[in-house]
């Protein structure tokens, strides 16, 4: 495994800048799939990371820049010592902390369910930790997950 980890670009870190538009998700998907392959992640883990990234990027592309334009920066880092994989999303759109959105009541009947909050609920389920920081004019959302040895 260690040889494969060493191959990961830029010593375990890679970044991607994307236009904040839903169509750009295809680029993000391909990029993440390549990283998952390089790290030889189990298919299921790769899929979980992809779903989480999809939900966050969707929020940014749909709501981050109401006037249009704008971009999102995505960084993936893998720490070989503790085997923690981190995906950091940074954007300069509307200040928004998704963690402050109420959790959906997943036991409520479907017709009573609130539409919002479902995506971030999934992200929290799929990752070990989700942190939000406001850094100047930037939203920084950090998702992390400990990978199995």
């Amino acid at each position: 495994m260690s040889d494969n980890i060493r191959r990961f670009k830029y010593n375990g870190e890679d970044t991607l800048s994307l236009p904040a538009r839903p169509e750009a998700f295809d680029t993000l998907r391909t990029w993440l799939e390549n990283i998952a392959e390089e790290l030889q992640l189990p298919t299921k883990t790769g899929r979980h990371l992809l779903i989480a990234a999809d939900e966050i990027f969707t929020n940014i592309s749909n709501y981050g820049y109401p006037a249009g334009g704008g971009s999102a920066n995505v960084a993936v880092a893998f720490n070989m010592n503790d085997r923690v994989l981190t995906i950091t999303f940074t954007d300069t759109g509307v200040a928004y902390n998704p963690l402050e959105a109420g959790e959906p009541d997943i036991n409520a009947p479907l017709e009573d369910r609130q539409i919002g909050g479902l995506g971030i609920f999934m992200v929290r389920k799929l990752m070990d930790e989700v942190k939000y920081q406001r850094d100047g004019d930037r939203n920084v959302l950090i998702l992390s997950k400990k990978l199995d040895a």
């Binding site: 839903p22 169509e23 998700f25 295809d26 899929r47 779903i51 999809d54 939900e55 969707t58 592309s61 749909n62 959906p104 997943i106 036991n107 009947p109 479907l110 017709e111 369910r113 539409i115 479902l118 995506g119 609920f121 999934m122 389920k125 799929l126």
Partner: protein, 98 residues
């Protein structure tokens, strides 16, 4: 994503193929809304669906809500990856999945 639809005696059968994500979910929503007037049963086959995000779940939720008063909806043939998404969000408990 590909959608095929067939309507027989008030029953709308829909087969979806590919990914139901942010980009494609609105297409599925529009296709359903364009065809579901006057139906009494909705049957959606997900056998060829390999990916569903929350945007896809929203369309399913919207369809279930619409069909509640009209005879009901059945979702069929979720593959294990997609089923996991339904389970994670509790949708498997609330929908009729076969």
């Amino acid at each position: 994503m590909k959608i095929s639809m067939q309507k027989n005696n008030g029953k709308l059968q829909v087969a979806v193929e590919g990914s139901v994500d942010t980009i494609t979910a609105p297409e599925l929503s529009a296709a359903l809304k364009g065809a579901w007037r006057d139906i009494t049963a909705l049957d959606i086959d997900f056998a060829a669906v390999d990916y569903v995000s929350s945007a896809g779940l929203r369309v399913v939720m919207e369809a279930d809500k619409y069909m509640t008063q009209r005879g009901g909806m059945i979702i069929r043939n979720l593959n294990s990856d997609v089923k996991e998404v339904f389970e994670m969000t509790g949708f498997d408990e609330l929908l009729t999945i076969e």
